[in-house]
Symmetry: C2
Subunit: 306 residues, 2 copies
Amino acid sequence: MTQIYDRVALIGLGLIASSMFWAMKRGGLAGEVTGFARSAETRNVAREIGLCDRVCESAAEAVEGADLVVLCVPVGVMGAVAAEIAPALKPGATVSDVGSVKRAVIDAVAPHLPDHVDFVPAHPLAGTEHSGPRSGFAELFDYRFTLIVPQEGADRAAVERLTALWQGMGALTEEMEADHHDLVLAVTSHAPHLIAYTMVGVADDLRRVTDSEVIKYSAAGFRDFTRIAASDPTMWRDVFLNNKDATLEILGRFTEELFALQRAIRMEDGDHLHAYFTRTRAIRRGIIEAGQDTDAPDFGRVKKGG
Amino acid sequence: MTQIYDRVALIGLGLIASSMFWAMKRGGLAGEVTGFARSAETRNVAREIGLCDRVCESAAEAVEGADLVVLCVPVGVMGAVAAEIAPALKPGATVSDVGSVKRAVIDAVAPHLPDHVDFVPAHPLAGTEHSGPRSGFAELFDYRFTLIVPQEGADRAAVERLTALWQGMGALTEEMEADHHDLVLAVTSHAPHLIAYTMVGVADDLRRVTDSEVIKYSAAGFRDFTRIAASDPTMWRDVFLNNKDATLEILGRFTEELFALQRAIRMEDGDHLHAYFTRTRAIRRGIIEAGQDTDAPDFGRVKKGG
């Protein structure tokens, strides 16, 4: 493939940033890739494993002269990092991010950025239960959607260039408006994650069911909940705090529905249960027909060809 | 392997029974295997695909002379089927079942059985989202647990023979008391399934998030919920109606916990969320250390080597 950016800076060196580095190298998409992480230990690991062509000692140093700067830090610190790098940004550079929520990130980051850069938020719908600089791999984004969330009046050339980078890294891309993104993700990701965390917490509390039993028999349905519940706590705390309204709205609807089903169980209303379970089959058929499932359901977590 | 039973009768010819047939043939574990299904269409499909050595026109005919009779029908009809076959059971035969709940099945089946047979309930923790006579495959039980639930004063020889059959079909086996089984399954399977059904129902209701979006971006976490929610409605209706108390108890604990997390989100109590998400990591580590997970998390649904 052809090079899309001469200089790319990755701020934050966790799962997504490290996967982006290996994916950009696989595709020959970037010239020099610089990186910075807050923790000295992470920077040392990065140098040790060859993650980034140059690991810098400050975010400002990393973004100097970069044509693309990607903020790969938890949503909660995006604003602070944007303020820190703003003075060092090269005129004409594109700034992007990989946050799981978009409205809050835009509100936190945009005000700090100078007029001479383009801000093009993005969100790759890919991850694993692992985190840190050693967790990345080049195939993470293959056949997965990356949502591009351009702001009003965004420079189309900048948007299309970033889109080309993500496609070069293997992703399918779509453009979406920020608030709609946050609602769609609340349904397809954020609420399911909170629900999985909750179910694992319940199992962990139940002393009559020993951990070893919950663990041994987890394949009966519980196991994937635990995979989700092993995701990075800081990332998910920030997701829920920053997509609060949409998540609470979906969870509200969820508890309403759950109560209706609990009531049907209590009242032994088999017809209600059967009708409900029959209806939910349709959406599954839709996913299969859309070619969006494989034999390895994985909460978007396992690398594979789609 | 060596033959364990001369004559086995499978009552009901869905996913579990058809997988048992192919697994018994793979292992050479049974002489003649007879089968019966209520629906003529199912019986015709079975004959067409060679499912069972002999497909019978009645349950009584199928169990005649059988050394092992396995009830593979929905939990809600186990009692009626037991009453129907009781007079035809061969003295010394073992009667078993594959129901996902055990106390209700024992209460429904045991009273109908003559003293001259041994009743040894069992539950294979394996399945797929598919159902019907064409859905079975020999590897379904490989490396999966099958729980054997002997009654008080059960004949040990009968218990050990059935255990040997399940091990011959590839399963790991454990013995468990009925009520404890129902509680463990409520935690590891029944509650997670109801929760997944609920989340899919919510997504299906949300008109602002089009089905196509929910489907396209399902890999972000939602997809496995839909896999579960495609499971057989009749089977699951009966599971919830027949494991009512344990399921409602777990769901009650679940909603308590969920409300606490919703409140933490509303109050923006990041420390509570972070502490909770950190705690749930431990149980996941336990599952990995116990060798009970693979790269294909599947709600116990996809055939594979463990």
